[in-house]
Subunit: 185 residues, 2 copies
């Protein structure tokens, strides 16, 4: 892919993630193109259908999880506790909660779409492998599985609004620490 | 208040809480009256202005917090740990997260309205007193204050949708337990 095409693709996916989180799966490709600052024709060259765009977003999120997992593997050889805490904070930082809430409103897609089911199983496997490392290091209870970890981390990532952040600065990072502490044996 | 008037008032406040959580502070009194199954005239007899209705909701939530606190006080004399866990689960069960997120979108109301500020301070005092009891019993870390506790408990109460609950049954109660465990010293 040429460099400008890659930039456009990234802008489209970034805009799609924001709009899917705010508006939901009913968002139009036209809205996404406008938010990404590209023409609708450019969007269709990258993602011929709305479903292609949704799966483009899913693949991008899957890659982000893989990137966090790779960084965890690197760091874990040095300092497993620091690596696990960083992984937890970075995973919450993916801010998947709003997206999950929106996607879950469309069970045909969320529960039954074959590509979604496959990506979810792959991501769960990647996360379970890192949970196992953290469990062996005594940082996570045995009974914590990947789905629970992801839902907990995604739930606490949902924004409550700037007014809340101003009233109680840092509350969200505090909650991530409480969450990770609560996962310990 | 006559019995049927009290029933109407309760229905109006219940409908207002649901609609405020779903639609936000822009919800109309007409929508609330329809959802409560009362005429608009009945609503206006109880709450002459939209602001009166918002404060009616606030007072109702304040009373619910007081009721939880009173139950905690009763139970704490018997079994402080059970009382604290029940208080945590019941507080999350108030499901304040969606309401806080909606209210925070109106900082003039959320941050600056005198009645809101006063109710928030009163509720924080009531919660801080129970946190102190839990701290003395070694169930909560010293540095946990009422605002952090409330935001954490409210955040984890936000629904992710029936499809998620079906996919990972009981994940929300699991998260409450993780949260309460994470607050321990």
């Amino acid at each position: 892919m040429r460099a400008d095409a890659a930039v456009n693709r990234e802008a489209i996916i970034g805009a799609a993630i924001e709009l899917l989180a705010d508006v939901g799966l009913s968002v139009s490709t036209r809205q996404v193109a406008a938010a990404a600052g590209v023409g609708i024709g450019t969007l269709y060259r990258h993602f011929p259908t709305r479903t292609d765009l949704l799966h483009g977003v899913g693949t991008c999120l899957r890659e982000r999880v893989d990137a966090l997992a790779a960084r965890f593997d690197e760091r874990a050889t040095e300092d497993i506790e620091a690596a696990w805490l960083a992984f937890g904070h970075e995973f919450v930082g993916l801010r998947l909660g709003r997206l999950i809430a929106q996607a879950a409103a469309f069970p045909d897609f969320f529960l039954d779409d074959a590509a979604v089911v496959e990506r979810r199983a792959e991501a769960a496997g990647a996360i379970a492998a890192r949970l196992d490392v953290a469990k062996r290091a005594g940082l996570v209870r045995e009974d914590v599985d990947a789905f629970h970890f992801v839902l907990g981390a995604s739930q606490i990532s949902r924004p409550l609004g700037a007014a809340v952040d101003g009233l109680v600065p840092g509350w969200n990072e505090w909650l991530v620490d409480v969450y990770l502490r609560g996962l310990r044996p």
